[in-house]
Assembly symmetry: C2
Homo-oligomer: 345 residues x 2
DNA sequence: TCAAATGATGATACCGGTTACATCTCATCT
DNA sequence: AGATGAGATGTAACCGGTATCATCATTTGA
């Protein structure tokens, strides 16, 4: 590997001149510059950027903690991050944490050991461990799933309002028994969406029925399983609102397997508006989130912090959009014909 | 940021001793080690790994060039890479190239500028530009989409055999007019799958009909569009084989929109076995690929190269599996019962 | 008892850039 | 002409580790 000293020797100048010729060409004379560039060419010089990063103390790397990259929504978020980072000359170090806090912590250490300048967390944890006493702003941004008492900059959706909006849509269609398939237990995201759901019920004077809440984990399988549970209830729901699209797609399948029609017998709604949502049968009513924008905003915020342009930790709230498709429709007129028992496959 | 010299001073030893106490504890006496560790604790010393990487010339970073991370299949591959890399102490630098060769080249430069040790390419390009004369092994592995005359180590599927296998399945079901929805034009992947399709046709004595080939780009939309074209043919196909599952899902929707039933009127098959394939209506017959294994194998191969354990560029071929679900079924009794076609099963 | 071997530790060069400061050359001004 | 300053270039410190070699103390062996 040729280095700057080899170039300097060949060009007959000092290393400082070579460095200047490449970094601040205005400071060197035209003919020196020419000599240097020729020498660079001749020895095939490529600067060792590791040395630069070491010297400058800036790596221009950003660590991203993702629960699972193999998730359609996160994939879009990452895509947005990548774009924004590339534009600013940063690279992304991707960490698949599988939700494991030890793995998170080990990657977060990359910031402390100067392997990365900052960190983006897509989960509501603080991977640095307990918050330091001094509230000096750690180079971290929290996106998507956010804890409210967070002292970090965050990018989030108003999940409560979004869930309320969807629930209101269902109520307006005449539904009274609206089930909710939840995400992981302690997720603030689930908590907020649940709150929005309850807000809408309360506003419409509908009693909250614990039985209509079903656990899930954002997977297709868990949606499928949840639907089975819900349909087996003595009084099954006429609408099922899922906290993400994957679960909704699982629900759709299970509902159809029961011989019920969507939306005539049961309405189904999702959350995220992943690309597959529009290609469901029937196409899925859902909440669209600007996934790529989550990513780009988070990256830009982080870079602002790193470059000292941010005084206070901002909270950015991105807009959602209710996307109405064919999976939701008017509640069935029937109070209950006679199939309250719910037939199996 | 505290450094090793601060620790040395506090512990009353030399920097060399501190380094040894942390790296090769056996070389240091017990009480010195204790002093050092206490000092490390006291100043909160975290080694600057950037300095280590610079000194050692090894970054332990691997660049991954992905056409689009927001692709279900690639997301799984990346997940497998991440896992394998983490186990060996490497990090992944993710690059979303959008298929742009300039972007690819700019990321490939990270290897040449010592920001990464090696590179994994998921497309059949050589991002380093024209191959160097000396066939010294560049630290690169090519996975998924592979050019055959490649001098790099590769990890791939026998796409030709897989496509042949699927086509044979359709032929066995009595289909004679089998359409193929292709991937991007110049992709070797498309070329191989097409060849396998033709192999099966030839073996079964079915004439190849150019009209039944439809362009696509691996997106849901392109599948939808392709189906529209195919169904409008004077003699539409009775089976549609798509080069990936997304397109197949798009096809399924379009076919159903035409009022045709799957598989009674038209069979549809995909490729990849993404998670959504099993949740289609009807569930999709497809070819399963070990996506995560693609990733882990590629990473392990690359690390073998980097650590000099590999003499010749190996070609690894991973197994596929024909996954039969409900989207394929017997060919409909032909509108024209004339027996030009020949034998059924 | 002295030489040689062993073990523990220290001093410092080194990796490859950047950059503060020094030096040198001219041109300009009074 | 001498002083001043601008412009071009060189010298070397520096970033923070690692590793080589030197040094010194202690033990072992003949």
């Amino acid at each position: 590997m040729s280095n700057i000293r080899a170039v300097a020797e060949l060009a007959g100048v000092s290393v400082a001149t070579v460095s200047r010729a490449l970094q601040q060409p205005d400071l060197v004379s035209a003919k020196t510059k020419a000599k240097v560039l020729a020498a660079v060419e001749e020895v095939g010089y490529k600067p060792n950027l590791m040395a630069v990063k070491f010297r400058s103390g800036k790596t221009h790397n950003l660590v991203v903690l993702v629960p699972t990259v193999a998730n359609v929504f996160f994939a879009r978020v990452i895509s947005g991050m990548q774009q924004a980072a590339a534009e600013k000359g940063y690279s992304l170090l991707l960490a698949n944490t599988q939700g494991d806090q030890d793995i998170e912590a080990s990657y977060a250490k990359m910031v402390q050991t100067s392997q990365a300048d900052g960190l983006i967390q897509l989960r509501a944890h603080n991977p640095f461990g307990e918050t330091p006493d001094d509230d000096s702003m750690l180079p971290m941004v929290n996106a998507c799933e956010v804890l409210d008492q967070q002292q970090f900059p965050t990018v989030m959706l108003d999940n409560r309002a979004a869930a309320r909006s969807m629930t209101e849509h269902l109520i307006k269609l005449g539904h009274r028994r609206i089930a909710m398939v939840k995400g992981p237990q302690r997720s603030p995201l689930t908590r907020d969406r649940l709150a929005g759901y309850q807000d809408a019920l309360t506003a419409a004077g509908i009693a909250f029925d614990e039985q209509l809440l079903c656990p899930g984990n954002f997977s297709l399988q868990s949606g499928h399983k949840a639907a089975a549970t819900l349909l087996a209830l003595p009084q099954p729901p006429t609408a099922i609102f899922c906290e993400n699209d994957e679960m909704a797609i699982g629900v759709v399948q299970r509902v159809k397997q029961s011989g019920l029609r969507i939306p005539q017998d049961v309405s189904v709604a999702g959350f995220d508006d992943i690309s597959f949502a529009a290609y469901c049968d029937p196409p899925l009513t859902t909440i669209a989130q600007p996934a790529e924008e989550f990513g780009s905003t988070a990256v830009n915020l982080l870079i602002d912090i790193l470059q000292g342009r941010l005084k206070k930790a901002p909270k950015v709230i991105l807009p959602f959009e209710l996307v109405l498709r064919a999976s939701t429709g008017p509640a069935p007129a029937t109070v209950a014909p006679s199939l309250t028992g719910g037939q199996d496959d």
